[in-house]
């Protein structure tokens, strides 16, 4: 397998070793401040992030042992998203320690917190494997690593009924969706005799006989993927799980899990969509799911009063916009649907993490996730209010923010490939987005606060917020660095 430093799995191996080292540290230094684990994790992941930019991807793996492992720009881009999301989640987890202590430790100081900082590192490794996987068995084992870690993380606040209920719901529905996915994979294997996506593509081109079997397999796989990316009608778990889970985990689910789900979807859908005979049938199925996701996600978000639940529906609606890009077959537009999805997810990471970070800090001092808790936030902490304002206007897609460019690319792609009906849905959805996102801004700036005590922000969180605000605005005006990473 050659030199370790040139191995295609180098970054992931480093992340796993980091996770193991943190578990050891946690086990052998029981007296130390558990937040030490988090700081070391942050430091290590930052190193991985820097290294990933300086790494040269090994090439010509197609005929080697590593033919199941993609090392293209897209894979590296999603690995960066995974590492960045994990770092921000750990920053959030540090802010969230008082809440965790209340529901996890019970008496002993910081009891059981160390693992809460270690597990995200393993999730990160799983997300990075998913980014590179282009073979069904690889996809399956990495997907399950991520999902099973999330079962634990969602139910982590074990003295909190909401968190446990969310954990059980996620476990049962997750297992069901995995069952559908694996059943679909066995059908594909039965039809083509391959688990490798590129070879499946070739086998599907020359497939004779029944079309319904291919459609059946496609639909089963779509059920599994739809669950991961929160597409309607496989979204039922989203609001409850997002609301019940610890806030940093919700943010991780919303960004990390979704991003990994979309890279897998991009890779899996490709061989099916290239099958000319059934191209229109596959697209029709996708278009129906997309339309339902955009409309449901946006309309169900309107009446929400809980900010976490609002972000859950917002997550569904963004999944709709992303799926819209995947249904397109571009004519003249220079970016492929996969690249547009990756760009959108990068901007989605910035703005969603911004919102969740503010939510974590406000939750700690007000003990509430309701939008009402944000009333008059600008009087209590102008910086937090401004950060959240940037976050929500970017999610809504106001020009000069990163969120606008993401939507702009998706809409351009839709126009380019003539998806007029979906485009109309998307415009209606985006318009209703303005209403429910700006509801939060109204609460912050125009409503009277219930208490006036200033909210403390730790220096680390302040730095993270500042960087996210700058990135959201800068990439909204000058997206070339992100696009450069994608096209190169």
């Amino acid at each position: 397998m050659g030199n370790f430093l040139e191995a295609p799995y180098l970054l992931e191996a480093v992340v796993v070793v980091l996770g193991l080292a943190l578990l050891m540290l946690e086990a052998f230094l029981p007296k130390a401040d558990k937040r030490l684990v988090a700081y070391i994790a942050l430091f290590g992941l930052a190193g991985v992030l820097v290294a990933s930019f300086n790494m040269k991807a090994p090439e010509n793996l197609e005929h080697s042992f590593w033919s199941f492992y993609a090392t293209d720009n897209l894979a590296f881009f999603y690995k960066n998203i995974a590492v960045l999301a994990t770092m921000l989640v750990i920053v959030m987890a540090i802010e969230y320690t008082p809440v965790l202590e209340k529901y996890v430790s019970q008496g002993s100081k910081q009891g059981g917190l160390g693992e809460f900082f270690c597990l995200p590192v393993f999730v990160c490794a799983g997300l990075m494997w998913m980014a590179s996987a282009k073979e069904f068995i690889t996809i399956f084992v990495s997907l399950e690593t991520v999902t099973i870690s999330f079962y634990v993380l969602v139910a982590y606040m074990r003295r909190n009924v909401g968190s446990l209920e969310a954990g059980v719901k996620y476990l049962i529905l997750g297992a069901l969706s995995t069952g559908f996915f694996v059943y679909g994979v066995t059908w594909v294997f039965g039809l083509t005799g391959e688990t490798h996506l590129e070879k499946i593509g070739i086998a599907l081109q020359g497939l004779e006989g029944s079309d319904s079997a291919v459609l059946f397999a496609f639909t089963l796989i779509l059920v599994g993927l739809g669950f991961k990316v929160a597409a309607v009608p496989f979204h039922v778990w989203v609001p409850d799980v997002y609301q019940g889970a610890p806030t940093p985990v919700t943010a991780f689910l919303s960004v990390g899990s979704k991003a990994a789900g979309f890279i897998v979807a991009t890779r899996i859908l490709q061989p099916f969509l290239e099958m000319e005979r059934l191209h229109s049938s596959f697209t029709t199925i996708l278009v129906i799911v997309t339309g339902a996701t955009i409309l449901f996600g946006n309309f169900a978000a309107i009446p929400q009063t809980n900010f976490k639940r609002l972000l859950a529906y917002s997550s569904i609606s963004h999944a709709g916009f992303l799926l819209l890009a995947l249904t397109c077959t571009p004519d003249q537009f220079q970016l492929t649907p996969g690249q547009v999805v990756a760009f959108y997810l990068a901007t989605y990471l910035l703005m969603t993490m911004l919102c969740f970070l503010v939510l974590t800090i406000v939750r700690r001092s007000t003990e509430s996730d309701e939008i009402a808790a944000f009333s008059g936030l600008h009087r209590r902490s102008p910086f937090l209010a401004f950060a959240l304002l940037i976050g929500v206007i970017s999610l809504a897609g106001v020009p000069l923010t990163a969120g606008f460019l993401g939507k702009f690319f998706v809409f351009t792609l839709a126009i380019d490939s003539g998806r007029w009906i979906l485009l109309a849905f998307a415009v209606v959805g985006a318009a209703s987005g303005f209403y429910y996102y700006l509801k939060v801004a109204r609460a912050m700036y125009w409503e009277e606060p219930t208490e006036l005590a200033a909210i403390e922000i730790s220096p680390l969180a302040r730095l993270a917020l500042l960087l996210l605000i700058i990135a959201t605005i800068v990439f909204g005006v000058y997206p070339a660095p992100i696009l450069g990473l994608l096209t190169n």
Binding site: P30, L119, T138, E144, T145, I148, S149, V152, D211, F216
Partner: protein, 193 residues
């Protein structure tokens, strides 16, 4: 395998599978699950997958025994048995299952059945042995030896696949098991330090 045995074992598997859901007593459910797995194992054996069949019994029956202990320890059996059935979700579930089965039937109907049955196409050990690649000097190919003696080296074949084609995936599965062990400890330990 004659279709009679196939039908018997499939019926055993399906009937007891339904009983797992229908039974109100959790212990009876767990026992039905064991019988259902036995039927499944028999089907694997009938497909010449002896190893998978045996593992099915060893691992799953063992796992069900553990499940059993949990049921006895953790659940209030009487309260479970008294629980009312919620009619609307149950009807919904039945309808969905029926739709899925109908879908499956319609898909299978468009499918061309195989030209040969398994009985008509026995395993060709000699050809399989001849197709094995040469091994380096001083090493012996135990799979080839088994095939020459007209034995099916299924465990060896499985091991060969696992360690030559999927060693990377095996290690990912190792990380998965580590994470789940940590998770179980965190979620169930009485006092955390």
């Amino acid at each position: 395998m004659p279709p009679v045995a196939f039908i018997i074992f499939s019926v055993i598997m399906l009937v007891f599978g339904v009983l797992v859901v229908v039974n109100r007593n959790p212990v009876a459910s767990a026992l039905s699950l064991v019988v259902s797995f036995l039927g499944l194992a028999a089907l694997f054996v009938s497909l010449d997958a002896y190893f998978v069949g045996v593992v099915q019994i060893l691992v799953y029956a063992g796992a069900v025994m553990v499940l059993f202990l949990f049921i006895i320890m953790l659940l209030d059996l009487k309260a479970e048995a008294r629980r009312k059935i919620n009619v609307v979700p149950m009807i919904g579930g039945c309808v969905l299952t029926a739709v899925l089965v109908l879908q499956l039937v319609s898909v299978l109907n468009t499918f061309e059945p195989g030209k040969k049955s398994l009985v008509e196409a026995p395993l060709d050990y000699a050809a399989a042995a001849a197709a094995r690649p040469a091994v380096p000097e001083g090493k012996s190919d135990t799979i080839k030896r088994d095939l020459r003696e007209n034995k099916l080296p299924d465990v060896r074949l499985l091991g060969e696949q696992l360690f030559t084609k999927f060693p990377f995936h095996l290690q990912i599965a190792g990380v998965l098991l580590l994470v789940s062990t940590v998770g179980v400890v965190i979620l169930s330990k009485r006092e955390l330090k």
